[in-house]
């Protein structure tokens, strides 16, 4: 690609067109990668492209999809939320504890406690970052990554706490007609997040804060509140992932979700979001999650070692970030050409 743009560079107009085409290809990258994976795996394994297996993939990635949607918001403002895996576990445990107090409201209390636990830790992350003037989101969420895990293990006495109300079980393992309920939860959450990021003013502000914090502040956007809000959304996403996990395992599970935060971050980056902030879409994050799910499902079907799967995912993450870097460089060149031609 580098040589292609270099040759194009010699002729003004064509060059701008060439660059804009290259940029478009990079932006469509995640979808192309997913399509390519699906084609390859369909050819490699007769079982891959069957309704059962694809439905299985969707159910498997549902908690990760929730986490990735939440993580996208944080990454959009140039942050990172390392705590979500631990928060997921803490949510399942507080849910189990709430269920232990009694089955109020047909399990609604349990659901509420699970989700609110996530929201509370998310708010704590955001407030520590903004009001505590911490240098980077890495720090407060690293703190809660440890603290939430410790609290979950402490509250659960280090062991799973079996028993969840039927409504939670349905959320994790039920089906509505042919469609698994966790998939519906992801679809609902994803749709709400999509509307929020594309149609709602606050969602626009998330992008502007990620684009340029100083400019956003100067223009009168409540930057601190926007930042806290994205961590609350990320916490809520951990709550939803916890709800699905608790339902699927029918237990409060203090060791659940380990390293899920890294999987979620990887999925968001693979889905084309920029780690610099200000760029990324819900659709992209979902595609990133599907790439993740399809790789591990496909390699399982092909009996490829789990160890190798980790390597493949590592490579995909590195490639995705490199594409983002390449995008920035191409944009830079595009700008130069614009100045010359205008």
């Amino acid at each position: 690609m580098a040589t292609a743009t270099r040759t194009l560079d010699r002729t003004g107009g064509t060059s701008a067109q060439g660059l804009s085409l290259a940029l478009r290809v990079i932006r469509a990258g995640p979808v192309l990668i997913l399509a390519l994976l699906v084609v390859i795996l369909t050819l490699a394994s007769p079982y891959f492209f069957t309704g059962d297996n694809l439905s299985n993939v969707l159910v498997q990635v549902a908690p990760l999809a929730c986490l990735a949607i939440g993580q996208l918001f944080v990454i959009l403002v140039g942050g990172i939320d390392l705590s979500v895996g631990s928060v997921l576990a803490l949510c399942t445990v507080t849910g189990a504890l709430a269920y232990g107090w009694g089955d109020f409201g047909g399990g609604i209390l349990t659901v509420a406690v699970i989700l609110l636990t996530g929201v509370a830790v998310g708010a704590l992350n955001g407030i520590m970052l903004v009001k505590g003037r911490m240098p980077h989101a890495f720090i407060p969420t690293l703190a809660t990554l440890n603290a939430a895990r410790g609290l979950a293990l402490l509250l659960a006495d280090g062991a799973p706490m079996p028993g969840m109300p039927p409504i939670v079980q349905t959320a994790g393992a039920g089906e509505l007609g042919p469609i698994p309920v966790p998939v519906l939860i992801v679809a609902g959450f994803g749709a709400a997040a999509w509307i929020f990021t594309t149609r709602i003013q606050w969602g626009r502000w998330v992008y502007l804060v990620g684009g340029d914090k100083e400019a956003a502040r100067r223009i009168g956007i409540p930057v601190d509140k926007v930042i806290i809000s994205v961590f609350v959304i990320s916490g809520l996403s951990a709550g939803l992932a916890g709800l699905i996990t608790a339902g699927r395992t029918d237990a409060g599970y203090p060791s659940a979700g380990q390293l899920d935060e890294l999987a979620a971050i990887s999925a968001v980056i693979i889905g084309g979001a920029s780690f610099w902030g200000g760029r990324g879409t819900i659709g992209g994050a979902i595609v990133g999650v599907l790439i993740f799910g399809v790789i591990s499902n496909g390699l399982n079907l092909l009996n490829v070692s789990v160890y190798l799967q980790l390597i493949v995912i590592g490579v995909v993450v590195a490639v995705a970030v490199e594409l983002d870097v390449l995008r920035r460089r191409l944009e830079e060149r595009f700008r130069t050409i614009q100045a010359r031609d205008s």
């Binding site: 149609r199 100067r218 956007i221 700008r335």
Partner: protein, 268 residues
């Protein structure tokens, strides 16, 4: 020239022991383009920061249309009808012209939802198109991200935004300093036509040619003080330069006091 829009009287700002601005008075009339000239450290930046609500002044008074105000914050300045384009432009690279025009003040409905309201992209786009056409700003495709535009296009978008949203005063900090000749020309035309859109302009610039091209009047600051003002014409060029660099004062000191800048300039 119309009535006085802005009046600054005896404005001072101190940073520790040093005066960034000392007893500066000036006025801006309706529909006027006023250039603010001065060397580095003359106090131009401090003055425009005060007027745009970024820093607070210590002493003196600011009157907008005859009414004394204290500009508390950038937001307050916006509310008072003052828009400032600083050198960093405050543009968002990750969105297009429409997104930048309405950044932070997106049109939404219903109003009771506040910032959770629905964004009306169609109305914003239509009005941006109209505005860009009215201001004759040429930028590449309406969906092109600002990050992909050249310096001149970015400057034009930032200036157009200020002219469109500024109800009274638009302050431009070195609007042409980073631009090539043709791009600067476009921005200068935009500035020259700004009064037709109902705003008065304060422009800070080092470039005397550009000042002479657009400004009705030039005020010179030196070391935080008001030195003088004149019409920026070719004939007054050297006189302005003398005021900026302070050679007049130096000569006056050598001659044992006496005539001021006027005569110093006349001699040169």
């Amino acid at each position: 020239m119309g009535e006085t829009v802005l009046e600054v009287a005896g404005l001072s700002k101190q940073y520790g022991a040093t005066f960034a601005l000392r007893d500066v008075s000036l006025e801006l009339r309706e529909g006027e383009i006023l250039a603010l000239l001065g060397d580095n450290g003359a106090g131009k930046s401090t003055l425009i920061k005060i007027l745009s609500g970024v820093v607070a002044h210590d002493d003196g008074e600011i009157r907008l249309a005859g009414e004394a105000v204290r500009i508390e914050s950038p937001k307050h300045a916006h509310a008072l009808g003052i828009e400032t384009v600083f050198q960093d432009l405050a543009l968002f690279d990750n969105t297009n012209a429409v997104g930048n025009f309405y950044a932070g003040r997106e049109r939404t409905s219903p109003s009771w939802l506040g910032a959770l309201g629905w964004v009306d992209d169609r109305a914003m786009r239509r009005q941006t198109d109209e505005l860009l056409e009215r201001l004759q700003v040429n930028i590449p495709g309406k969906d092109t991200e600002i990050g992909l535009m050249s310096g001149g296009q970015r400057q034009a978008v930032a200036c157009a935004r200020a002219i469109a949203f500024g109800r009274r005063i638009v302050i431009l900090d070195e609007p042409t300093s980073a631009l090539g000749a043709r791009e600067a020309g476009n921005v200068l035309r935009l500035i020259r036509e700004a009064p037709e859109h109902g705003v008065s302009v304060i422009v800070v610039s080092h470039n005397m040619e550009h000042v002479m091209e657009v400004a009705d009047r030039a005020v010179v600051l030196r070391q935080g003080r008001y030195v003088g003002e004149t019409e920026p014409t070719q004939e007054n060029h050297e006189r302005l330069v003398a005021m900026i660099v302070g050679s007049g004062e130096d000569r006056r000191a050598e001659n044992g006091g006496g005539p001021g800048d006027e005569q110093a300039a006349a001699r040169s």
